[in-house]
């Protein structure tokens, strides 16, 4: 079952900035892309399996919001999680985000929060 998890106060992350949130073993890179425009994707870079994406630079490619891994500059669409240079093996898990009453919420599968499984495993195999 999917649940909306309360994450942070909206003021805790400036527009154009990003950070990492953690629920159990799950790490999510959170991006405050522009006013009321948020994105959440897995923090794990599928290239070398390191939890670093939240420390990458954000920007856009032809208007498509993107996040660039700080280790080797692999660029990912924030909307779809796709690798922007077309490597199908490098797909990011994306998570829905919403603002409510001054707080930010991320939608995740409940089982990821409690079990040993993680949605990232699909990308690591």
């Amino acid at each position: 079952m999917e649940v909306w998890k309360k994450v942070i106060n909206l003021k805790d992350i400036a527009i154009g900035s990003k950070g990492c949130v953690k629920f159990g073993s799950l790490q999510i890179a959170l991006v405050h892309y522009s006013k009321h425009e948020w994105y959440a994707v897995q923090n794990l870079c599928p290239h070398q399996q390191q939890n670093v994406l939240s420390r990458g630079l954000i920007g856009d490619r032809q208007g498509e919001p993107k996040l660039v891994c700080p280790l080797h500059k692999n660029a990912f669409s924030l909307k779809t999680g796709k690798h922007l240079e077309g490597n199908a093996d490098m797909q990011l898990q994306t998570f829905p985000v919403k603002e409510e009453e001054g707080y930010l919420f991320i939608k995740v599968e409940e089982q990821f929060l409690t079990s040993l499984e993680s949605p990232m495993l699909a990308n690591c195999a």
Binding site: G16, S25, Q50, G56, G59, H72, E85, M120, C124, A125
Partner: protein, 843 residues
Amino acid sequence: MLTKQQLVVIGNGMVGCRLCEELIEKKSEEIFKIVVFGNERLPAYDRVHLSEYFAGKSADDLTLQPVDWYVKHGIDLWLGDHIMAIDRKNKYVISEQGCHVPYDKLVLATGSSPFVPPVSGAEKKGVFVYRTLEDLDNIILYSKQVKTAAVIGGGLLGLEAAKAMMDLGVDTHVVECAPSLMPRQLDEAAGKFLQLKIEDLGVNVHLNKLTHEFRGNGRVESILFADASELAVDMVVISAGIRAADELGKRSDLQLGARGGIAVNNYLQTSDPDIYAIGECASHENTTYGLVGPGYQMASVLADNLLGATREFSGADMSCQLKLLGVDVASFGDTHSDDERENAVILENHKDGIYKKLILSEDGQRLLGGMLVGDTSDYGRLLSSYQAGVPIPKAPESLLVPPATSSDKDATSVAFLPASAMVCSCNNVTKGDLVQAIRQENIQELAGLKGSTKGGTGCGGCIPLMKDILALELEKSGVAIDRSLCEHFPYDRQGLRELIQKNKLYTFGQVLEKYGTGQGCEVCRPAIASILAGCWNDHVLNHQDIQDTNDHYMANTQRNGTYSVVPRVPGGELTPDQLIAIGQVAKEFDLYTKITGGQRIDLFGARLEDLPKIWQKLIDAGMESGHAYGKALRTVKSCVGSTWCRFGVQDSTSLAIELENRYKGLRAPHKIKGGVSGCIRECAEAQSKDFGVIATEQGWNLYVCGNGGAKPQHAILLASDIDTNTVIRYLDRFLMYYIHTAEHLTRTATWLNNMDGGIDHLKDVVIHDSLGIAEQLEYEMQQLINSYQCEWTATLQDPDKLKRFRPFLNTEETDPTIQFIKERGQIRPAPPVKQPVLELLEI
């Protein structure tokens, strides 16, 4: 309205396909309706790289143009159908499947078929030819049940086939009837070098062996040679050369060449003026060409002629350069002069297996041909010298040894890299691959090139080189080079810098609003951060979210997401107390310690949240940021010089410390390294640095624009026997001029290589002030020096800046996925695991 003429092309191989491409490119669509017939069921594919099919490439990877491409350009493509006859009188062709297709112009590009020597038993199971993807599929299937295979033919194609068999994991023999390998391109000595190299790889070579019979009961079991010896093998691949596929021409009563092939004139017309022939099936002046290069030349000439030009094909040379079984081989021009008085220069390096031979004209003035085995890095240079027919040096042997350092722009530019030069070693992408992709796919930007070739998508170290190659190709094809920083800023770095400085812009937001579009990206954000730093030298953390991760956290990101910390050690001089302090910090935070190449100590494995605590201790011990994380001055390396060394003639350590302290914190288009040596022995390796100073009896020699890195380059002498003040004045001007004019992420060496006028221009600007900006450059440098601050000292005093050094927004936990193991008494990152989350949770 004119009706279109019908152009029928028989043959859809590499040359036939190239003809279509040339025609489409030259806007033939209004003149011709094109109909193409191909024997094989697949559209044209890259036969040159056929052996890569064995190494895992798919048929799609090798396809030159997908079927969609033909459709899109209105070309009718009939695959898997043979043309049986040409009715020249009524001008139509008849296919095996019964199609009657009329033509106005007809092109034969039927290629060649494998030459099968007249050997009895060639019909036995397990005997294959090596030509089409279908052949390859059959070979792959059969090879699964065999242990040994023989390739008949030790020429170019035979060795390609041998590579394929090796890739299939079969014990491979090569059988050649001549006394050495590649007899058409190489002399016996060169063939011997090649043989030794490939025998090292485990290929068995049999020379002087004329195949007489394939023996076996139904399937091949051994080869009997003319000398009565026998070789037991489980399969045979015949790759003994090709024959022009001229049967259709012959049946149609077209004139043939003396040694086969359909005869063509200089316009590539056959004896029927409406029928043309190109590629391997054509015989021009009784010569057939079995290489793709001449075929492509013919395709280009014919495309022009069909569209009304009168271009002539005047023959092509058989120069080639390739990697055979991993061995570099090249030959060009005339390699077989029978003249006993042959003028040749030969270099034999038995240690490294390198053989190079140049054949000179009788007067020794010009190159007639040459061959290279084991090292073909000179091929591009030699070939252009041969083709241009230019006089060669008085000492021709100098052509065969690596060129001495030169300030000549061309000699070091990417234009002279051979096509085989490996650019991206992560993904095995050569310069040739990049050039081919740029040309065939009309690529105009780096992202497209990365997507198409996968080059630059590994470690990324080759990206500057890829950019240079792309720029060069675009320049060649007449496309105006787009030097825009990226899609968000239509300016080059220098142009944008001038705007920022003139209009006094202080933040990325201001610059984006005034001159950019969109949100920016990983290219323009750090580039503008660097420009802002070079203009105003503001604290790096005042510019949130535009820095690469290193600048963002003022530490160097390592592979597991931890950081390394490098305190500044000016000139490499360190007191015992400082050394102890560094050791204590490393011990307290369990950091891996290593001496760097720049005479400092690097502390690895620091967690994000520990960085402020680590720096607090280091700063308390009197150290400051080493800027190892920035595109900034790194170190000025030195030897002990005249203070201790009995050879030293000047105090190099003191000068190095002075220079490092002067330029510390200086942000530039790329990192900057310096060196100062106390005598000509050059222990500080100053000539490999962006600036290097070497002591002389009279003062100092100043060198600039050296580089280690992917493409090492010696620094070039800018001024000699100058005093310390002049060294500093010239360096101020030099570095500031670099900061003003270099593109983002361009080291000084590349900057100089691409500079109009090269070192002479740089000397004029720095020494003679030819642009009248010397005073301004010195003033700006002084401003930057005056505004220096230790970024870490400033950060520790600012609670706002310290906030970013926490791994998670929603919890105070530390990252449990960062794991280390112990090796030689220190930590190192745990090797990547396939399922990190699962593994780590078990701990």
